[in-house]
Symmetry: C2
Subunit: 358 residues, 2 copies
């Protein structure tokens, strides 16, 4: 039985509240499935640390973290303390790039017990993956200002796409689609408006599609694709998108499936050269912090994805993942639920209930 060394980085706001529940469930799963998880708490990568040190993380963050098998991450950001672009570029976005976690994998699934904001949808109707490029593209801090403070002020920001960056995310997405029963891949584009980057993206999709004759491949401009998430979510199987479009789709998708409070994500370095990172899709939500009402399910589901990835197809790990998912489903149906889902339970009530169901 191999030991998995996991860095626990709660971050800011409700990240700190949902993390204990994630750990509680992971500990229970480790117990039941005889997994060896070793947790190390990291108390930086949060805005209070920034206020004390002028940086979100110590200079040797990379050295400190690179030996872990995974990072279990809560959420970062507290705009009243530190502007978002400073806190996020100083933490989460550094992890994604520094550890080359180029795949952001986000399941979108209508779960039993969850009221769907879309009319007449039932469990099974919404069940797909958003595969988001996670290191380049529109997320950039390259550019600047000219004529600052004057009427002529002009701000330029670059989006940067590389063949390596585009091809590897497409390959991951096509491989995933190939393994799924429907074998259907949808690519998000906006080549009619963003006239340089997106035609390139489309070109690489076409080139990659040639190697996957069994995968049915289509593309939509991001505007109409968002509309279709609402109007016909049953159409989708694997949706591949650039960094920004993937970000949008992976909040919109979970919203269509009821709530982003339960949505998980995996920031993967598929080659395992570096630790991968697992975090809920929701953010740090300073407005509800401190009341113990945050929904811990996104954090817990992300923990299940972590076990699955760490196990690399090993049966016990796969079983642990599935058991956590079943326990989540049970609690979604029977309660207790946090207020965001219409219940009156606390964050820890839900965590405890999922452990029980396990």
């Amino acid at each position: 039985m191999s030991t998995h060394r996991i860095a626990v980085i709660a971050g800011d706001g409700i990240g700190r509240e949902v993390m204990p529940e994630g750990l509680r469930v992971l500990a229970a799963a480790a117990d039941r499935f005889d997994l060896d998880l070793q947790f190390t708490t990291i108390d930086w990568a949060n805005c209070d640390y920034y206020l004390q040190h002028g940086e979100m993380m110590p200079a040797d963050w990379f050295e400190q973290l690179k030996g872990f098998d995974a990072l279990y991450f809560g959420a970062a950001g507290w705009p009243d303390k530190v502007p978002d672009h400073i806190s996020l570029w100083g933490s989460l976005l550094k992890f994604r790039r520094g550890f080359d976690q180029y795949v952001n994998l986000r399941p979108v699934r209508l779960m039993p017990g969850v009221p769907c904001p879309l009319a007449n949808r039932k469990v099974g109707d919404i069940d797909f993956y958003v595969v988001r490029e996670n290191t380049e593209g529109e997320y950039s801090a390259v550019g600047g200002r000219m004529f600052e403070g004057t009427e002529r002020e002009t701000v330029v920001q670059e989006s940067i796409f590389t063949r390596k960056g585009v091809d590897r995310i497409l390959k991951y997405a096509f491989d995933l689609a190939q393994r799924r029963p429907k074998k259907h891949l949808t690519s998000a584009t906006k080549s009619n408006g963003m006239a340089i980057s997106m035609p390139y993206w489309d070109e690489r999709v076409e080139a990659m599609a040639a190697s996957y004759p069994e995968v049915r491949c289509d593309k939509y401009h991001i505007d109409i694709l968002c509309a279709r998430f609402v109007l016909s979510p049953e159409r989708f199987d694997v949706v591949v998108a650039s960094n920004l479009f993937g970000d949008i789709l992976s909040d919109l998708g979970p919203a269509c499936a009821g709530t982003i409070g339960i949505a998980p994500s995996a920031n993967l370095n598929p080659e395992r050269d570096f630790p991968s990172l697992f975090e809920p899709v929701h953010g740090s939500a300073p407005d509800i912090y401190g009341r113990n009402i945050a929904n811990p399910i996104g954090m817990i589901w992300s923990g299940a994805m972590m076990l699955d990835f760490l196990g690399q197809g090993d049966a016990a790990h796969g079983a642990a993942h599935d058991a956590i998912l079943r326990a989540i489903e049970r609690v979604l149906v029977d309660g207790p639920l946090t207020p965001d889902m219409g219940g009156a339970a606390s964050t820890s009530d839900v965590g405890l209930a999922i452990v029980d169901a396990l």
Copy 2:
């Protein structure tokens, strides 16, 4: 009674099918409200013209069009004939920039009779405006490729925001919010990811907000904003956004309100230095072209917006706008409807019915 000179540009695909219905309704409204509309048909700005001439429009398009009071536009693009970025950058996007139509105004409204894809929403619950910047930002053809065709291939595209461009769209949006009963403005951002352009956008929003103390102003990152369109559309009143974010929100909004088939838009040069352009939100939909089943209501509603804008607050024009809206509502409730709305009527059946209702 002043004459309004209107250039009629059907464009491609279903643009050619919905245009006659738009004109039919405008003619009826002109008749009833004693307006003087003079139409001139423009047979370029379409992909067939491109195939013949190697350009979407003649070199003197600007000279030919600049004297009109408005452009009534169908849709452009036919990807099997001409790649989208060529057809759109060669037509619609040239109009928007050349004629400095810097406001793209798009009402999002749940109309009577339209089944809503969101559960438990009724008429009145969704009623807001997307105010989209329409000339700069992420829509750019500035940038290029390096190491073309090699493993190192790198593609760079610039987003460009100017103080003039940002401030004037914000001013338009704040003015609009100020005139609405709720006086609520929401700004779309993504300053946590796009670390140069969007913090600038936020800064200008804050500066502008200082001049509008009565307007309640908030901001959301685009990912969570899309989620909220689905989860709580009743929160919104005026939503202001950059070119790309506005594009996304103004397809997603109408989808949440039932269909983009009926959604209108106004590309405005508020100073009236140049003609403004009125077009449905939907595109040219080559897949359904030629069957006379396209929904003409987006085109017709855009015509109503055109009358309103041309009249500059004149009573007869305002009455004509309102009467067309009432006629649309009547037909949405009583039919006939095109197949996209569950009916079996043709494009022209719907146009004729709206004329009757008028």
